[in-house]
Symmetry: C2
Amino acid sequence: MERHEVRSRRIPETTIRRLPAYLRALTLIGQDRITSEALGQLSGYSSEQVRKDLAYFGAFGTRGVGYDAQLLAQEIRRILQLDHGVRAVVVGAGRLGTALVRHTGETSGDVVIAGVVDIDPAVIGRQVDHLQVEPLEALESIIRERQIGMGIITVPPQGAQSVCDRLVRAGVRAILNFAPRALVVNNPEVFVQQIDLTLEMQALAYFVGSSERAHRRD
Amino acid sequence: MERHEVRSRRIPETTIRRLPAYLRALTLIGQDRITSEALGQLSGYSSEQVRKDLAYFGAFGTRGVGYDAQLLAQEIRRILQLDHGVRAVVVGAGRLGTALVRHTGETSGDVVIAGVVDIDPAVIGRQVDHLQVEPLEALESIIRERQIGMGIITVPPQGAQSVCDRLVRAGVRAILNFAPRALVVNNPEVFVQQIDLTLEMQALAYFVGSSERAHRRD
DNA sequence: CTATGTGAAGGTGTTCACAGCA
DNA sequence: TGCTGTGAACACCTTCACATAG
C-alpha cells in the first residue's frame, strides 16, 4: 500500500517564518480576493515567493483570479497550528517579561500567554495584565495542567540555561529566549529561537558605519 | 593605478550577524588564547564557520595555536564600529520602549541609547533610567546634535511608518523596528531590521505542533 | 487573457577537506 | 604536530520562465 504523503516535501524554515507576515496582511486588507502580487507587496516579499511558499501546502488559489483572502488566512492559521490555541508560559516577570505579557495581551496573534512565573517572592502574586505571577516551582505543573507547548524565557542570563532545561524536560516544544545567552538543547524535537537585543543592536552598528545593503524584513 | 580593495569580497550579512555572538563569547571567557573550535562551541556555530567569518576581514589567528582573545575582540569591535560609540534614539516611551532603555542601560554592548522621545505630553519629562523623555518634535534636532546613527521604533503600528520616514530623512543609517508593521524605506543606504514579537511567536507555534528540526540561534 | 503552480536556473551561504604555516 | 585559512563541493533558498487552468 502506497503511502500518500500529505506534507511531502520538507518545508523550508524560511517559508514558515514568512507565513505569519502573509497572515497579517490578509487580515489587515479588507478584501475577499487577493493576488500573490498584492499579498507580496503588503508583506514585503515577491509574488513568486508568495506562490512558492503557499504551494508547499497545497493549491489554494484560482488561476487567473487569485486567492480567497478569508480562506487563505484560515489555511495559514491551520498550517501554523494557530487554530489549535497554542499556549505559552513566560518565565521571568521582570521588565521585559511583563512588557511581553501585556504586549501579547493586546496584539494577541492567536498564541495565548497562559502563565507567568518568577523566582522572586516580592514579585509572585503580582497582577500582570490578565495573569497573576506564580512561583517558579510551579513551572512543571503549570506546563502539564495547562498543556503549554511554548516557553518564553526573560530571566537574567545566569538562570536561562537552567530554566531552559526545565522547560525541555517538562515537554515544551518551542522556546523563545530573550536572555543574552546561547542555550544548549540536546533534544532535536525542541525548537529554540533566540532574540538577543544586544547582539541585534551590535550587528546594526555595522550598518550605521558601512553605507551599504538594502533593508531586510524577517 | 590599481585599486587595492581593503574590504574586497562582499561580506555576507549572516557573517555580520554572527560577529556579536563571537564578541560576547570572547569577553565572557577568561582566557587570552582561544581556538575556532572553542569559540564556535561557546557561540553556537561550527569551527569552520568561525574561521570563514573571521577570514573575511583578515588573518587574525596563528596557525597551530588559535586566536588571541583580547586582540580578536578588539578587531570585531572595530569591524562592527563598536569602538566608534554608535548612538541610538528610542522613539516611543511605552512599555516596550522603557523596558528597552533600561535593558540596554544594564547590559550595554557599546551601543548607547542617547535619547528617548514620545508624542504623549503625559509621558514627556518622565525619567527613564538615565534619560528623560523628550517630545517627538525634537527628534530631528536630537539626531543632528547628538550625532545619532540608529533609530529604535517602539510606537504603535499606525505611527511607525511616519516615524520611520522622519528617521530616514534625519539621516539615521540603521533602524530597529518593534512595531508590528512592515516598514517601507526607499533609501538603500538605510538598513532596517524588523523584530516582530507576534510574527515570531506565530512562527514558533508551527514548531510546537510539528516535532521536527533542530534549534536555531541567530 | 490573467494569475497560479512549478521545474529549471541562478545565487547565496555552509560544510568539507586539505594545503600552509607557526 | 595542530590549528588556521581557503578553494571546491554541497545544500539551501530565491528568481526566472512558462505551462496550465479558470
